[in-house]
C-alpha cells in the first residue's frame, strides 16, 4: 500500500491503484459479450437504407410504391416520417449541434449533401428482399456541383450547400450566404506588440485530412415499437440517454415512451455519440409493427457516419532568443461536413493551452463541405491545432539551439497560469510530464541510421456532467451497482474498485452493470473522458449513502444516536464513548436485517459532476525512414500523461496506448480519399490504412499523478489527451531523421518519398 491522498487527506488505498483482472475480459474474449449486432428479437425484420449516390443534389421526388408491393417488404420510411425541427442548438459529442440539421442528417429532406446521405429506408423479412426493395425505390435528383476541400468551400464562388447559412460571428452580419457557418476568435494580450518583441518568428501552414475513428464494430441496433407506442432500442452507443432524446425528438414521441439499452461497445471514440440508424429503425418498426434490426456495412460506416474534420491550419509563433514565447497566433479552418458543427472551437481553445503565453490570438472557421457530417473523435479539434503548434515549437527549438523539452519547460503552463482560453489553471501536470520525459531512458538512447526522434505535448479539458448511479445492498451482503455511462474503456472495473475501496468489501462482492434508460436518472454520454471521473464521483457518493444508512440501521438496533455509530472496515461499530458496548456488525449482517429495519438499503447519487480537470501529456517518438520507399516506421514510443489518480493502472495505460495508435495512424497513413466526382474511393479497411499490431512497437507508458483536488480519489479523465501529441511527435521525429519538415498529413510513403527526392535535389535531405 502506498500513501495516497483521498478527499484531500492522506490515506492508504487497499484497492485503488491495484490491477485486478478485468471483469469484462472473459465475456469479450469468449464471444459472450453482447454487442449491438448480437441482439435479435423474434419476428424481427431487416432494415436497410437507400443512400444518395451523389455528393450534392436536390431531391425532386421519392416514389416507393414499387418497393412496397414487393412481398416481404413490411415498411418504407423517408423524410415525411420524421418531424421537421426548428433551429435549436443542443450540446452534443463535440460542440453544439442543431436539431434542424440532425433530422436532415438522419434522413435527407430538401437535398442530399454527401455521397451516402440517407434518402429512404425499408424493413423486409430478409436482407436480400430489403436490398431488392431499395433498388425499386425511385428517387429523382437534380445533381448540383459539389465541394470537398475546406479552403475551396470558403471561396465566394464555391457551390453553396445551405442557402440560409450566413456566417455567425462576423460583424456586420454578411448579406450573402456562404459555406462558412461561423467565425470565432479567442485570445488575450496584444498580439501585435508581442510579435514586435520577438527575436525569432516562425509561421507555417499545415493541412490534415478527414479521418475516421476506426471503431471495429459498425453501428448496429434493434428497435421494437409496440401497438401502444412503447418503444425499445438496443444499440451500440456511447450515450443511450442521448439516443433516447434524439429519437423521441425526431419522431415526435414522449421521451418516457422510449427505453434504450446500451449494448457492449466495440469502439466509439466519439463516433457513437450521435444517432444514425436508431430513429430510422424505430420509424420502420412502428410502421411494420415488428422489431427491426439494422447494422451498417463497413462501407456505410465510412461514407455515412461521422469522421473528424480535415483542416487547414496556419500557426505563427514568436520567441525570444532564450526560448520564451512572446506571441502566438493561429488560424484554423475546419471542415464540418454537410452541416455546421466542426470541432474548431475546442481546437482553438486547445491550441496553445499547454503554455503560458502573454499574447495569444486564435481565429477559427467552421466550414461546410459535401462530405459526411463530422462527429466527435477523441479530443475533438485538439490533435489538429496542436499538431501545427507543436511542429512550429520544434522548429523554434532547433533554430534557437534549445532542447525541445527545455523549450517547453520554459513556457509550460502551471497552476495559476492564465489559459489561452481564459481561466486560470488549478493544479496541472504539464511540468511533471516534461520532467519525466527528460529523465526517461528513451530520451537518452542513441539513435541509429535513418532514425530520428521527436517530442510533443498535448492537452484536453475533460468534462463532468449529469450522472446517476444506484448501489443496492443485496440480502446476502453483496452489492449491485448500476451506472449509466457505457463502458468504453474499463469503467466497470474502476467503479467496482472505488466502491470496494469505500465500503471495505472484496471486489468480487460487487457486480457492476450499465443500466438502461428506464433504470436510472439521466446520464450524459460517455465522452469528454468523463465516465471514471463522473460515474466514479457518483459511485463514491452512493457508497457513502449505503454506509450512512448501514450505520443508521445499527444505531436503531443498538438504541444509539445515528452519529454514535461509525462505518469501519466493511462493517459498523459503536463509536466514541459507546465504543465496545456492542459487537460490530458486518455489512452482510446489516443486509440480512435491512427489510426488518426500514426496507432495502440503496445508495443513490444524482449529480452534475463538477470539478473535472485537464490532463496534459508529453510523448517521445523514434522513427526510422526508409530512404528508398519513404516508409516511416515507428520504432519506439513513450507516452507520459497525468492521470490525476489511476484507479486501475492497466486500463489507464490502455487508454494511453490506444490514443497513441490512433494518432500514429492519423500521422502516417489514414485519410479519406475522394475522386473528382465527390465520391469516397477508400471506404474499407483494406484501402483506409489503420495501424495494425505489426505496424507498431510496444507503446511504453508512464502514468504521472497530480491529483485532481475536486475528485474524492483525485481522478482526471485520460481517454482523449493521448491522441493529441502523436501527429506532431511523429512529424518532429521525421524532420529530425530526414531534414524535411512535413506540414501535410498523412506522411504516407509516396508523400515522404516525393519530399525526400525534392530535398535531395536541393541538397537539404539528411538521407
Amino acid at each position: 500500500m502506498q500513501e495516497k491522498v483521498k478527499d484531500g487527506q492522506s490515506s492508504e488505498f487497499q484497492v485503488v491503484g491495484t490491477r485486478p483482472l478485468r471483469p469484462d475480459g472473459a465475456d469479450k474474449v469468449t464471444g459472450r459479450a453482447k454487442f449491438g449486432a448480437d441482439f435479435s428479437l423474434p419476428g424481427q425484420l431487416v432494415g436497410k437504407v437507400l443512400r444518395s449516390p451523389y455528393p450534392h443534389a436536390r431531391i425532386k421526388s421519392i416514389d416507393a410504391s414499387a418497393a412496397l408491393k414487393l412481398p416481404g417488404v413490411k415498411a418504407v420510411v423517408c423524410r415525411d416520417d420524421f418531424v421537421e425541427q426548428s433551429s435549436e442548438f443542443i450540446p452534443a459529442g463535440e460542440m453544439m449541434i442543431n436539431y434542424r440539421d440532425v433530422v436532415r442528417n438522419v434522413m435527407a429532406r430538401e437535398k442530399v449533401l454527401y455521397e451516402g446521405h440517407p434518402v429512404a429506408a425499408v424493413a423486409a423479412t430478409t436482407a436480400a428482399l430489403a436490398k431488392e426493395a431499395l433498388r425499386l425505390i425511385k428517387v429523382e435528383y437534380q445533381v448540383l456541383p459539389h465541394v470537398i476541400d475546406v479552403v475551396e468551400a470558403m471561396r465566394p464562388d464555391a457551390p453553396l450547400l445551405h442557402e440560409d447559412m450566413f456566417t455567425a460571428g462576423v460583424e456586420p452580419a454578411p448579406k450573402t450566404p456562404s459555406n462558412v457557418a461561423k467565425r470565432l476568435e479567442i485570445g488575450h494580450g496584444d498580439i501585435a506588440a508581442g510579435f514586435k518583441q520577438a527575436e525569432l518568428v516562425i509561421e507555417r501552414e499545415f493541412t490534415t485530412k478527414p479521418v475516421h475513428q476506426g471503431y471495429i464494430e459498425p453501428h448496429a441496433c434493434v428497435a421494437s415499437v409496440s401497438e401502444d407506442g412503447q418503444a425499445d432500442v438496443w444499440v451500440s452507443t456511447q450515450g443511450h440517454w442521448v439516443v433516447r432524446a434524439h429519437c423521441a425528438r425526431l419522431l415526435g414521441w414522449d421521451i418516457g415512451k422510449v427505453r434504450v439499452t446500451a449494448a457492449e461497445i466495440g469502439g466509439g471514440f466519439g463516433g457513437k455519440t450521435v444517432v444514425y440508424l436508431e430513429p430510422i429503425a424505430l420509424a420502420l418498426s412502428k410502421k411494420a409493427r415488428r422489431p427491426v434490426k439494422m447494422v451498417m456495412t463497413r462501407e456505410e460506416v465510412f461514407k455515412a457516419s461521422g469522421p473528424t474534420s480535415g483542416a487547414h491550419v496556419r500557426v505563427k509563433i514568436g520567441a525570444k532568443k532564450d526560448g520564451r514565447i512572446v506571441a502566438a497566433e493561429a488560424e484554423l479552418k475546419y471542415q464540418a461536413g454537410a452541416f455546421a458543427g466542426s470541432p474548431v472551437q475546442p481546437g482553438a481553445m486547445c491550441a496553445y493551452a499547454p503554455y503560458d503565453i502573454e499574447n495569444v490570438k486564435v481565429i477559427g472557421y467552421d466550414v461546410v463541405t459535401n462530405r459526411p457530417k463530422v462527429a466527435a473523435y477523441r479530443a475533438p479539434g485538439g490533435p489538429i491545432s496542436e499538431f501545427g503548434v507543436e511542429s512550429v515549437l520544434d522548429e523554434i527549438a532547433a533554430k534557437l539551439g534549445i532542447d525541445p523539452i527545455e523549450l517547453r519547460l520554459k513556457n509550460a503552463a502551471k497552476q495559476g497560469t492564465k489559459a489561452a482560453y481564459g481561466p486560470k489553471f488549478g493544479p496541472i501536470g504539464m511540468v511533471e510530464t516534461l520532467e519525466a520525459a527528460k529523465a526517461h531512458a528513451h530520451w537518452r538512447t542513441p539513435l541509429g541510421k535513418h532514425q530520428g526522434r521527436g517530442v510533443a505535448s498535448g492537452f484536453w479539458f475533460n468534462i463532468g456532467g449529469e450522472t446517476s448511479v444506484s448501489l443496492s445492498l443485496n440480502e446476502d451482503g453483496t452489492l449491485s451497482l448500476t451506472a449509466g455511462t457505457p463502458d468504453i474503456g474499463g469503467l466497470r472495473a474502476s467503479l467496482c474498485m472505488m466502491a470496494a475501496e469505500e465500503l471495505g468489501v472484496p471486489l468480487d462482492k460487487i457486480r457492476v452493470q450499465i443500466g438502461d434508460t428506464g433504470q436510472l436518472g439521466y446520464n450524459f454520454l460517455t465522452g469528454g473522458s468523463r465516465s471514471t471521473f463522473s460515474s466514479g464521483m457518483a459511485t463514491v457518493e452512493a457508497a457513502r449513502d449505503v454506509m450512512k444508512e448501514a450505520c443508521k440501521r445499527a444505531a436503531k438496533l443498538w438504541e444509539l444516536p445515528d452519529d454514535a455509530v461509525e462505518y469501519n472496515n466493511g462493517g459498523v461499530r459503536p463509536a466514541g464513548p459507546n465504543a465496545g458496548k456492542h459487537a460490530p456488525m458486518t455489512l452482510k449482517e446489516i443486509a440480512g436485517i435491512a427489510g426488518k429495519t426500514g426496507g432495502p438499503i440503496v445508495g443513490y447519487a444524482r449529480i452534475n459532476a463538477a470539478g473535472a480537470a485537464p490532463s496534459l501529456a508529453t510523448h517521445i517518438a523514434d522513427v526510422e525512414v526508409d530512404p528508398e520507399t519513404g516508409k516511416v516506421s515507428v520504432i519506439r514510443y513513450t507516452a507520459i500523461q497525468d492521470a490525476g489518480r489511476a484507479i486501475h493502472p492497466s486500463y489507464v495505460e490502455g487508454q494511453y496506448q490506444g490514443g497513441v495508435a490512433q494518432g500514429i495512424g492519423w500521422a502516417l497513413n489514414e485519410e479519406y480519399i475522394y475522386g473528382d466526382d465527390g465520391k469516397l474511393q477508400n471506404p474499407g479497411f483494406l484501402d483506409y490504412r489503420v495501424p495494425v499490431a505489426s505496424d507498431l512497437p510496444m507503446i511504453d507508458t508512464v502514468i504521472i499523478e497530480v491529483p485532481n483536488p475536486r475528485h474524492p480519489y483525485g481522478v482526471r479523465g485520460v481517454g482523449e489527451t493521448p491522441i493529441v501529441p502523436p501527429m506532431a511527435a511523429i512529424a518532429n521525429a521525421v524532420a529530425n531523421a530526414t531534414g524535411v519538415r512535413f506540414t501535410d498529413l498523412p506522411m504516407s510513403p509516396p508523400r515522404v518519398l516525393k519530399a525526400l527526392d525534392e530535398a535531395r535535389a536541393k541538397g537539404s535531405a539528411k538521407l
Binding site: 486560470k424 473522458s529 452534475n608 463538477a610
Partner: protein, 81 residues
C-alpha cells in the same frame, strides 16, 4: 463584484464589451444580470455556455456559487469524444 470575462464570440452580443463587473452570488443570478444589461446575450448564456469560476469550469450548473471577488469567465461548452 465578480469580474466577468466573455470569451469567444459572445462580445458580439454586448457591443464589443468583454469585461464586466457583476454582482451575483450564483450562475443563475449572473445570467439574469447579464441578460438584463445585454438581452441579446441571454439565449447564448442559457444554451451552450460554460462558466469558469476562479479557474474551475462548470457546465449547466445554475446554482454554482460565485464569490464576491470571483474571477469568472464565460466560455463555450466543451464535450469531447
Amino acid at each position: 463584484m465578480a469580474h466577468v470575462t466573455l470569451i469567444g464570440n459572445l462580445r458580439q452580443f454586448t457591443g464589443g464589451v468583454t469585461e464586466i463587473e457583476v454582482a451575483a452570488s450564483n450562475v443563475h443570478q449572473l445570467f439574469a444580470r447579464l441578460g438584463e444589461k445585454y438581452p441579446a446575450l441571454l439565449p447564448h448564456l442559457q444554451t451552450g455556455s460554460a462558466v469558469a469560476i476562479d479557474g474551475q469550469i462548470y457546465q449547466d450548473a445554475l446554482f454554482q456559487e460565485i464569490g464576491p471577488d470571483s474571477d469568472v469567465h464565460i466560455l463555450p461548452q466543451i464535450a469531447g469524444g
